[in-house]
Amino acid sequence: MLRLEGIHAGYGATTILHGISLNVQAGEVVTIVGANGAGKTTTLRTVAGLIKPTAGRITFEGRDITRLPAHEVVDLGITLIPEGRQLFADMTVHENLLMGAYRAEARAKQKDTLDQVLSLFPRVRERLSQSAGSLSGGEQQMVAIARGMMARPRLLMFDEPSLGLAPIIVQQVFDVIDTIVRTGATVLIVEQNVFHTLKAADRGYVLENGEIVLSDSSDALLTNDHVRQAYLGI
């Protein structure tokens, strides 16, 4: 479904990704594991069209999206739920969700989508009229995921969904992700909570210094010595 071939990318003069290749099949949950600054977030931002790669090719369902602007990538059905939530703090929860369905295609089905999404997030439904900034961190993360769902994505990319959340909320977030996965969505996820994520994923890539050094099924990675030592702290 999604295929990256030899992607080089970075910020300004700094190159962060040095030729990474990976693919995600429809219906799969794939995770990228790596140290801080290895390039995980950069990878997701490159797919989302927020960073333009300096070399390499990205295809989505056979179509070349390497140079597409971010809003057209969203139109094709790829949504990034960014690190640190990034809600529109002064807007209400309802308005935040509508912003998720801003593009013409999504806007046409806005009402239906909203109902479907809210059925996944009963807590969000209760908060619709509150301003997003007044919510607790856990609720904000739920709204961020719900906003991502509003674009009716076929590929959902999560960047650190458990960042800064209380343990009890982390469980809820992973429960929600599980529910989304069960609806048949394709998911690419980046998380520091490696153990939890590998449990939820089918396959994983290990990214170090901007290069993929290892790729295998989640179960194999969980027992891999290098992964255990470097990322699970076992």
Binding site: A35, N36, I169, L232, G233
Partner: protein
């Protein structure tokens, strides 16, 4: 494996932040600018160069406030006009403008402080609006106080020639004086930018709260900047009046001119030392030429030319001409992202110092936000050499407690007391007081000074201990390598990931060498292996005698770090005690940990 081999050597600090080569190039440029009109010897060319020097000087002075301090003054002609009127009025009384310019500068500084002081305590566009309003006030005053200022007819200077009176038949002496004033302005601007004051100004501009937490008196540093800028502007105003030989309110207190001064800096490169000079060099000839070519047929068309240039610059050169120049002068060397340096594995002291007596006491803290009881009668204490974990669900009020423990929020009732080094107790009120007494904090929502490099960010903290730039730089480097930020020293802070920014927060506060450290979720966004390293780092910080309160969700860290844990829920303390006891508390499990956590622990 990339992250076990760690380069712990700290390279020697650069001796000068402003390399010799650059200084030599700037010197050569300035000399050429002075030599060219003298060599040509044409009156009109000399006039253009004098105009360039004057506007470059004014813009350089403006840049100290508008660029470094980020306070957009749109009324800088106030100080220019005061300088001009002071010079001419005193000259009419027989006093040399060489003295008059200091009188003008003194009045300007008083006016500048009076305008700025109330505005700098607020956030928002108030300073810009106030400068425009006061500019109008001064123009009207100059019109009305006819017996002193000559009103709308303006003032002529008495025609007394010679160096004593700053008035000449020939242009060359005027050229020299204008050049001298420009050099003075550049020297002051350079000095500020390369010393502690400059770091403090930029830090305040970028993130006011983080600057306050680093012990910066944000109002004071900006008042110093505005005073220096006003004085320099007044000097140039006095000279320009002598050069023009005639002044009137509309020309001296002009909004157009104020905007022009700001625009030279904007186009040249906001906040850089020589940006305003570059801007003036580019724009003054352009506008003179436009006026010359278009003036007769199309009055005011030169304004249009200006506008077009400004639009082009904003669109294509957001960092001004300096941005382009520094790109081609090879400042930005492409680098391969050396990203995953880990937190240094720190050797621990063999024995931890014993836990002492109370060093910080939170006494019945109560805080409401619009009807919401955010903290309700929260009391606890921190002992010397202890690590206290503060946990609780998102929205429980943990960060609000931190804000009260560091002076960013005043409790509605209750107080925070801190034991000083000499053993006495104090109740500090402002963030500055807390920093001065040795309380350092990080922010949950990271607060990097985005336009500064990693090294400069940490230096802002280090300046709390060191006045000298080189000492601060060395301390910052040491801290950076300790925090695993070594490879990033010269990267701009905005390029770091969340994990990197969290470490930068800790590095900045560690560079202050606090006695009490408040850490707000510093482990978020780093993986388990780095969490273990960070735990070791925290323990080594504790062993060096620092007392720590840590808000944290990473339970692995909470459990292995904390001597005691305080659990907050809905603004109230629901449990307190040793970590292993607290996690078994049914209330804590229900409100915070969740049932699965208990299963995982079992």
């Amino acid at each position: 494996m990339t992250d076990t081999t760690l380069d712990n050597t700290v390279p020697a600090a650069r001796t000068s932040p402003f390399p010799l080569k650059k200084a030599a190039a700037l010197g050569a440029l300035l000399l050429a600018l002075l030599a060219a009109p003298i060599a040509i010897g044409d009156q009109f060319i000399s006039h253009i160069f004098i105009t360039i020097f004057i506007f470059a000087g004014l813009s350089t002075a403006w840049n100290i406030v508008g660029g470094y301090a980020g306070q957009l003054s749109l009324g800088h002609a106030i100080f220019y006009g005061i300088g001009a009127y002071a010079g001419v009025m005193l000259m009419n009384m027989g006093i040399s403008p060489w003295l008059g310019m200091f009188a003008g500068a003194a009045v300007s500084v008083v006016v500048a402080v009076a305008i700025s002081y109330p505005c700098f305590r607020l956030r928002g566009p108030f300073f810009s609006l106030a400068t425009i309003a006061f500019l109008e006030v001064f123009r009207v005053l100059a019109l009305h106080l006819r017996e002193f200022t000559g009103g709308a007819t303006g003032l002529m200077i008495p025609l007394k020639f010679g160096w004593e009176w700053m008035v000449f038949r020939d242009r060359t002496p005027a050229l020299l004086i204008a050049f001298g004033l420009l050099v003075v302005a550049l020297a002051v601007a350079w000095w500020i930018r390369s010393h502690r004051l400059g770091f403090y100004l930029v830090a305040t501009r970028e993130r006011q709260s983080a600057a306050q937490a680093a012990g910066v008196n944000t109002v004071k540093v900006r008042l110093i900047a505005v005073s220096a800028s006003a004085a320099l502007t007044a000097f140039i105003g006095t000279f320009h009046a002598m050069y023009l030989t005639f002044i009137e309110p509309a020309a001296m207190f002009s909004l157009t001119m104020s905007i022009q001064i700001a625009m030279f800096a904007l186009i040249g490169g906001l906040g850089t030392v020589i940006g305003p000079l570059v801007g003036a060099l580019f724009l003054v000839p352009l506008s003179e030429l436009a006026r010359g070519w278009l003036g007769a047929q199309a009055l005011g068309l030169h304004g249009f030319v200006y506008g077009v240039v400004l639009v082009l610059v904003v669109l294509f050169m957001p960092n001004g001409l300096m941005g382009i120049l520094s790109r081609y002068l090879g400042n930005a060397t492409p680098q391969r992202g050396t990203q995953s340096a880990s937190v240094a594995a720190t050797p621990r002291a063999a024995e931890r110092p014993p836990i002492g007596n109370d060093i910080l006491i939170a006494d019945h803290l109560d805080k409401h936000f619009a009807g919401l009881h955010v903290t309700n009668d929260v009391s606890f204490s921190l002992k010397e050499g202890e690590i206290l974990g503060l946990i609780g669900p998102n929205g429980a009020g943990k960060t609000t407690v931190f804000n009260m423990l560091s002076g960013f929020l005043k409790p509605d009732s209750g107080s925070v007391k801190v034991r000083t080094e000499d053993g006495s107790w104090q109740a500090p009120l402002t963030p500055g007081d807390f920093a001065a007494i040795g309380v350092g904090r990080t922010f949950q929502i990271v607060q990097p000074f985005a336009a500064m490099t990693v090294e400069e960010n940490i230096m802002v903290g280090a300046f709390h201990r060191y006045r000298d730039v080189n000492d601060a730089r060395e301390a910052a480097r040491e801290t950076a390598f300790r925090m695993g930020l070594g490879p990033w020293l010269h990267a701009e802070a905005r390029g770091l990931t969340i994990g990197g920014l969290k470490r930068l927060e800790v590095a900045r506060v560690m560079a202050m060498k606090p006695r009490i450290l408040l850490l707000d979720e510093v482990m978020a966004g780093i993986n388990q292996t780095d969490v273990r390293r960070a735990i070791d780092l925290m323990l080594s910080i504790r062993d060096s005698g620092v007392s720590i309160i840590a808000i944290e969700h990473v339970m692995q860290a909470v459990m292995s770090l904390s001597d005691r844990v305080v659990v907050l829920n809905s603004g109230q303390i629901i449990a307190e005690g040793k970590p292993q006891n607290v996690v078994r508390d049914p209330h804590v499990i229900e409100a915070y940990l969740g049932k699965e956590f208990t299963h995982a622990q079992a």
